[in-house]
Structures are given as C-alpha cells and as structure tokens.
Amino acid sequence: MTATWIAVLATAAGCYGLKLAGLTVPQRVLASPRVRRFAELVPVALLAALSAVQSATSGHGFDLDPARLAGLGSALVALVLRAPFLVVIVAAAGTAAALRAAGVS
C-alpha cells in the first residue's frame, strides 16, 4: 500500500471517527462556553489559513501567481454579491483560466 493510500484511509477514518464522536459523546463536554467558542472558531482559522497558503505559496516559498490571485479576487467579488457557492467557484476558476488563456501566467 502506498503512503498516499495510507493518508487517504487515515483521513477517512479520522473524519468518520470525529463525526461519530459527536453523535456519541455526552452533552456535558461542551458545557464550557469557552470550549464551545474555540470549537466554533477553529474552522474559521484553519480555512482562512488554507485559503491563504494555497493562494500565495508553493511548497516552502511564496508564489504569487497573478492568474490565481485574480481568480481568488473574483471569488471574493462573487461572495460580496451573495452569489451561490457554485457561482463563486466558477467565477474563480473561470477568471484564472481566462487570464492564462490570454497569456497571463
């Protein structure tokens, strides 16, 4: 089994285990408002970090690709205009693809 398969199956097992834990764990665990607040904020911090890292870096270095950054800018505009999720994604990919087709790299 390749290392990638192990990562795929471990991710699947971990994600399923976390879902099942929520349905199984006693309700008192979230009694503390601070624990609850931390849990609410974790996805916000992690997803913002992922978005930033994938937009502006490659491996260990910064990689400011104009087409990719323009695509992310289009997504932001679509979000401000309250577009549905799919429209946001299409706007982002479409902008980057169009710029690359026009020679921007």
């Binding site: 991710t11 309700q27 997803l47 890292v53 870096t57 270095g61 990719r68 990919a93 690359r100 087709a101």
Partner: protein, 236 residues
C-alpha cells in the same frame, strides 16, 4: 382536520425534503471540482473516490489534496485534514439531541454529519421534519457528491492541465466561500481568520508543509479566550 391544517401539515412534510434535495444537488455537483482537483493534485481516481465515499466532508478532502499538490508531508496533511473535520463533531452534538439515532442507525447517520445536513436539520420546526430534512439532504448530497467526484476525476485527465482550467483556484475559493458567512457574522471571526492566515503564511518558509495550517488553530484559541462568551454577553 381543517383544509388549512391539512395544507400546513403537507407543507411540513414536503418542505424539509425539497430544501434538502435542492441543497444536496447544488452542493453535490461541486464534487466535480473535488474530483478534478484531487486528480490534478496527484491522487488516483480511486483515491479521490475513496475520500468522497468514506471521509465525505469537502473541506478535509480539499485540504488533503491541497497538501499533496504542494508536495507536503502526508502525516501533517492527514492531521490537518482530520482537524478540519473536527467541526463535524460539534454538529454531531447538536444533531444527536434532535435526531436521537440509535444502534446501527447511528453508525450510518454519522457519515452524514456535515455542514449542509446540519443547516437543513436545524432549520426545521419539529423533530419529524428535522429527521426528514437530514435524510433528504444526506441521501441527495452523498449520491451527487460521489458521482460528481468520479466524473470530475475521470474528466480531468482528458481536459489537460488543471491549471489551464483554473482548478488550482477552486480549493482556496471554496474555503473562502465556506467561511464567508461566518466572517460576516462577527468581528472576532474576521480577526481569527486574518490571524490564522497570517500565522500560516508567516511560518510557511520554516515549517513542514501542512503544519502552518494546523498552527493557525492558535488564532482560534486566542479568539475564544479574548472574546466574551454568549453568557457574558447576555449578562451585560
């Protein structure tokens, strides 16, 4: 039962299913983007499908593919992807109160504990509607997401370079879209998002790929300790 009451009862039965099926189809189609992005990242078609079938939580799936695409460490990539799935634990705590799943039903229901099913379930006025909404969203989204993943993975090879189609922007744009409603909701959320992004970018050059994203969780910790809790707010 009066005609009006009958109409209301029918609406209570139909609405959660209609909402769930609509959301499931709309969101599920973006599995094409995941399948394409995953194969573009270097995952095989079967690995992309295994993630959609077994992990079934978009943000974690995109996260693992993203780390693999950037040549990151698989241990850190897996840890980051699983950590991203931790919000589903919190959804589960809420859903357990409403759905009260038992035995084998709980093992199956757990697969469906994600953003979309939670949103539809919590929007319903009574436990019966909530159960119908959860089931409709879960079934529709699971089928659509998995078929779309396969289609995206199979198509990506023939379409050529993922970058030419802008697929490298799909992950970052999807994450932004997923947290955007929360960013609108509060100042603490916006500061935590900026802090998380700053921590991750600031440590990218010195830490193994994938680790900076996990480290961004400290922004959430600071946010939780610094911001007033709901109880304190209501006491003011």
């Amino acid at each position: 039962m009066s005609a009006q009451a009958a109409v209301q009862a029918a609406a209570r039965q139909v609405r959660p299913v209609r909402d769930g099926v609509g959301l499931g189809l709309a969101v599920g189609v973006s599995g094409i983007a995941f399948g394409a992005a995953a194969v573009g990242s270097g995952l095989s078609t079967w690995q992309a499908c295994a993630l959609s079938l077994l992990a079934f939580t978009g943000a974690s799936q995109f996260a693992l593919a993203g780390v693999i695409a950037t040549g990151g460490g698989l241990v850190a990539g897996t840890a980051g992807a699983v950590l991203l799935g931790s919000r589903n634990t919190l959804y589960g705590l809420r859903l357990a109160e409403i759905l009260r799943p038992r035995g084998p039903g709980r093992l199956l229901a757990a697969v469906g504990v994600i953003d979309e099913t939670t949103a539809v379930t919590l929007a319903q006025p009574d436990p019966d509607s909530a159960r119908r909404g959860f089931t409709a969203t879960f079934a529709t989204l699971y089928l659509t997401w998995n078929l779309a993943t396969l289609a995206g993975a199979l198509g990506a090879g023939r379409l050529g370079s993922p970058q030419a189609f802008g697929l490298d922007v799909v992950g970052p744009a999807a994450f932004l879209a997923l947290i955007y409603p929360r960013l609108r909701a509060g100042r603490t959320e916006r500061l935590v998002a900026l802090g998380g992004a700053a921590i991750a970018l600031g440590t990218t050059t010195v830490l193994p790929v994938g680790v900076p994203v996990i480290l961004a969780a400290t922004a959430a910790l600071v946010g939780a300790l610094a911001s007033p809790t709901a109880q304190q707010r209501s006491a003011v």
